[in-house]
């Protein structure tokens, strides 16, 4: 078993750990007593989703998939900022 195959297995385990991070954050979104808890959970889930998109782009070898991650990195914080503005003074 050469080192490349071991590296592939470690990459797969890392992606599984990231997906279980999404699952744990979603449990906080179910339980969360206030709106701010749910907004923090949405923020963390967005960051982990960007990581998973880059992982998919790496293992399939298609560079154009990274554009989706770029769009996410630019746009994703607008939702959280809108929720925060709504909480503070209500648009």
């Amino acid at each position: 078993m050469d080192s490349s195959a071991i590296a592939k297995v470690i990459y797969d385990i890392s992606a599984l750990m990231a997906v279980s991070g999404i699952v744990l954050s979603f449990i906080r979104l179910i339980k969360g007593p206030t709106i701010a808890d749910r907004a923090v959970s949405l923020d963390v889930m967005t960051i982990i989703a960007i990581s998973i998109i880059v992982y998919i782009a790496a293992i399939t070898g298609r560079i154009i998939y990274l554009d989706v991650a770029l769009v996410y990195g630019l746009i994703s914080f607008l939702g959280v900022v809108a929720i925060a503005r709504y909480l503070e003074r209500g648009f």
């Binding site: 997906v19 749910r38 746009i75 648009f91």
Partner: protein, 81 residues
Amino acid sequence: MSLIIIIFLGIIMIAAAVLALYLKNLVAAIISAGVISLLASVLYLFLAAPDVAMTEAAIGSGLTTIVFLLAFNKIRSDRED
């Protein structure tokens, strides 16, 4: 390996949809609908459709949340008057 990730993300997507139906707080339901768009974008990428995933990321996750919050705020202020 990608099959396991697709199954996990699909289960979370269905759970988020059910959660958006049953939550009493409407802003929390809007956040839950945003989670559906987020995971749908990742699933479109697994199905090899990057253009659809990009559109879903821009419109579903960014624009829809803001428009929903704007409309909800207008409804609430009309009711208070």
